[in-house]
Amino acid sequence: MRGKAALFVLSIALLGAAAAAEPARRVVSLNPSLTAIALALGAREQLVGVDDYSARAPGAGGLPTVGGLYDPSLEAVIALAPDLVVLVPSAEQRGFRERLETLDVPCLALDPVSFDDVLTAIATLGARLGRERAATARVDAIRRTRARAAAAARPLPALRGVLVLQRDPLFVAGAGTFVDDMLRTLGVENLAAAQPGLWPRLAREWLLAASPELILDASPGSEPAASYWARWPSLPAVNGQAVFDIPEGVSTLPGPDLDEALLVLAAAARGPAFAAALRAEAR
């Protein structure tokens, strides 16, 4: 934790130097998280193109699209004459970045996996877009909310829980992800942390054996979580009525609003009063 924080500060310092360079004016974003960050930092004017999924976000309407998450059109990107392309390397398809660099298009690869990774991404992107002040403000706000949440959760009893990304087949949030960091901040022991992988796919049997006291269901399903998981009444979470729907987007997007994401999770894990108190402190 401390090591990451140190690295984070160092990166900011280095980027401070880089920020002295010309900020990017024509940016193409190939990832919804990165698009959301850019928009939150007020860089809408600097965005000239986004991928199809980013285009669905409010605030990104009207921007030209260049293709899907995994199959963007090289030609469409080049046609926009960008001076910066931001992308997530793990979601890359067929050596896209290499081809862009061969054509002398600067690329910025950011990988917002852990909570601190997201903060670094906000800072780095802010520096490249010439929005350092907005970026620093955002990062500080997120860090403050996280510190307060951690402090408020410390005296509370630990909860054994899991965050579900998809019900069938079962995908959960694993160790090292920003979701995992948020859960631990709230004093929730992530039962999936022992499993390998960032977003492991597990058997339902595993879930039943793990007996979570808290189920945060962020999966896209029309059936409400409470009624869905009620099929397995042996689960302590079902018994204790600690099964909650988590709206898609905010808490599952490693984007600029991690403080809001944290509050949403807090409301579910520790109760609406807990979250309301945190919100009140923020003002």
Binding site: D52, P64, T65, V66, G67, G68, L69, Y70, D71, P72, S73, L74, E75, A76, I78, A79, A81, S90, A91, E92, Q93, R94, G95, F96, E98, R99, T102, L103, L165, F171, G197, L198, W199, P200, R201
Partner: protein, 337 residues
């Protein structure tokens, strides 16, 4: 007597070459960025630079070249496999070489990240997988089975099943992101048209085509069966081995770069056989030209149909090829009556 004369051969190939040239020109001229024809022309004449030059020379040209090479490779491999297996419904993926390529590529795609391998390692790994599958095929179907259609097919089917299962296993181990990547790679796409890669694929394809084209008559004779073909002057075992190696090179090169683009290797040879007759002296070079034109056309559509969005080219080859082929079938059957 209706037969293939040198004149008919030259005329038909000339017409197909013209068709290919037209589709190549169309492929370079058309794209999602909406460049005007005069702008494209300016770039080709060396008068223009900037984004337009990048698009035409670095994006479209290599991609169109790759589509032509892959299309020719798959179509000719299809013709050869249909003759080797004595079955007009065989396609280039039936003998497992493509399964090996897919397995090699997917293995690096899903596990390579941990070993520090980037996407650039995928095509060579896929090609290595193709070679591995070929060696297995030769080892098992070779000596005792004498590379007969039955033994080739059996080994191929079993190996494909094994490769599919292994791929599913790897994909299920991978996370959400890699799963989508695996799926998209398998469907087939010509997006990875790095000029250096295109050049090496084109080289392999040219070598494979040169190895197959002189054997047109031999392919005809193979249709008569083992004994008759031998007595009409060909060493059937050696010829079959040579053709198997050449067509596996074609399939391996195509799949390692483009994934499993379907339909080209089955429909193009079959349709040409209905239109031009079964004489392989014409069918092999014609398939190369027509396969190239077909895939270039489909890829051009895939790039431009939905604006910025790229469709998987394999979906288009099936959507375009399927109905056309059924129509052709009905027409030829109606003519017979």
């Amino acid at each position: 007597m209706r037969r293939l004369t040198p004149l008919r051969l030259a005329a038909t190939l000339g017409a197909l070459a013209l068709l290919l040239a037209l589709t190549l020109a169309l492929g370079v001229a058309v794209g999602p960025s909406g460049l005007a024809l005069c702008e494209v022309w300016d770039v080709l004449a060396g008068r223009s630079g900037g984004a337009a030059a990048d698009i035409v020379l670095s994006v479209r040209l290599p991609r169109v070249g790759l589509a032509a090479a892959v299309g020719a490779a798959l179509a000719v491999a299809g013709v050869v496999f249909q003759a080797l297996l004595r079955n007009p419904l065989a396609d280039p993926y039936v003998l497992g070489v493509s399964g090996g390529a897919a397995l090699g590529g997917i293995a690096v795609l899903t596990l390579g990240g941990a070993a520090g391998l980037g996407y650039a390692a995928v095509p060579p790994a896929a090609f290595a997988g193709a070679l591995g599958a070929l060696l297995l095929l030769l080892a098992v179907a070779g000596p005792a089975g004498r590379l007969s259609p039955t033994s080739l097919l059996l080994v191929g089917v079993v190996f494909n099943a094994f490769a599919s299962a292994a791929i599913v296993f790897l994909a299920s181990l991978a996370g959400l992101a890699e799963g989508a990547q695996v799926f998209l790679w398998l469907i087939g796409s010509l997006a990875d048209a790095r000029p250096a890669l295109v050049a090496s694929v084109a080289g392999c394809v040219a070598a494979g085509l040169l190895a197959v084209v002189p054997f047109g008559r031999a392919l005809d004779l193979l249709a008569l069966g083992e004994e008759s073909a031998s007595l009409l002057g060909i060493d059937t075992k050696r010829v079959r081995l040579w053709l198997l190696l050449a067509s596996s090179l074609l399939v391996g090169a195509a799949v390692s770069v483009a994934g499993l683009v379907g339909f080209v290797g089955l429909v193009v040879p079959h349709a040409l056989r209905l239109l031009l007759g079964p004489d392989h002296r014409l069918l092999v070079p014609a398939s190369a030209l027509a396969g190239a034109a077909f895939l270039v056309g489909c890829d051009t559509l895939a790039r431009t149909l939905l604006g910025g969005r790229e469709l998987p080219v394999g979906a288009l080859t099936a959507l375009a090829g399927g109905p056309f082929f059924l129509l052709l079938l009905r027409r030829t059957q109606a003519l017979r009556r």
